[in-house]
């Protein structure tokens, strides 16, 4: 009586890129570099503190097969040859589309690191006006997340929140206030250095 599962083929040629793949496109937009460079730049960046060889090298291979990036073998005597990757037009286009996409609720709540990486890369790919637009959209979603949280809390009212649950709600308020303050501050700085 077993029924076969309908597994939809993954369409590897046309599927949406994974976050890590977009992040790597972003690193290459900042500067053409090798897999080794990318791994070491992770600690300087804002997306994860580290990355493993087992994730970076396969991703670079995939992106190259998709013709989103290209590589040149940089051979210098007395050094191991390095494979330096560069963005190709199709990769630039896909990256820009990703950067311009307004942040989702999920990105604001659970993927803060991705949002910040986008902001970092945006300097090299978007115009000042587009960055300001993105910040406006980001601010709206942060404000909406506060409203969402309030709604959830109101829904549980009646049971009465425990002391620690109340304190955690304060933590979220502090966090959201800090982000809104940062947005205001950044908008002002970006406008003043036009």
């Amino acid at each position: 009586m077993r029924t076969k599962k309908q597994i939809v083929s993954a369409h590897p040629q046309t599927r949406e890129l994974t976050p890590l793949e977009y992040v790597i496109l972003g690193f290459l937009a900042i500067k053409p570099q090798s897999g080794y460079d990318i791994i070491n730049n992770f600690e300087l960046g804002v997306y994860r503190a580290s990355a493993s060889t087992g994730s970076i090298y396969p991703v670079l291979k995939r992106l190259e097969k998709l013709e989103l990036i290209g590589s040149t073998l940089e051979v210098v005597y007395e050094t191991r040859p390095r494979k330096v990757y560069t963005l190709r037009p199709a990769g630039e286009q896909l990256l820009d589309e990703w950067l311009r996409r307004p942040p989702s609720m999920q990105e604001v709540i659970e993927e803060y690191d991705i949002a910040m990486h986008k902001f970092l890369v945006a300097e090299y790919r978007l115009s000042r006006a587009e960055v300001l637009e993105w910040l406006d959209a980001y601010e709206q979603v942060v404000t909406a997340s506060l409203a969402l949280r309030s709604a959830i809390i109101k829904a549980t009212r009646g049971e009465g929140l425990s002391l620690h649950a109340q304190l955690i709600n304060r933590a979220m308020e502090f966090e959201i206030d800090a982000r809104l303050a940062w947005i205001k501050d950044s908008q002002a700085r970006l406008r003043s250095t036009l």
Copy 2:
């Protein structure tokens, strides 16, 4: 010329629990409940906004096999029977040990949700004095993370940070200030309601 990889057996009986397993122990410490309850309580909690059946039910099975939790089949007429799970002594002990463990740098930087879940559950398992100790330790790690970031920035000085990179550093300062303010606030409130 192939050499076999030395794969260390995973010792499933004695291995460290995964974060999700500890988180579920924590939910059961707050209140005995079913897998379905746990999934629905995720949005009220602070660890992830959602959880899938494919992760929760297998974890509950594993924890029961390890004798960390027990289940009673709650049969009420006119309702589907629910499997209500409860912490067993071994589970309580393991959970308490986890809650008392001072937060690591990784927990502060990348696993804020886990830290907050611990704080939520701590109300039900630790004494007020232990919670205050935990907050002290948490404060120290937050301060240390600020110092770590400063060190990394100083190391890259010379190249000169880009405008967006500077703004992101400000975002981190805002974030850390907010967390430190919350810690101070919470300590005061916890002390005043002894």
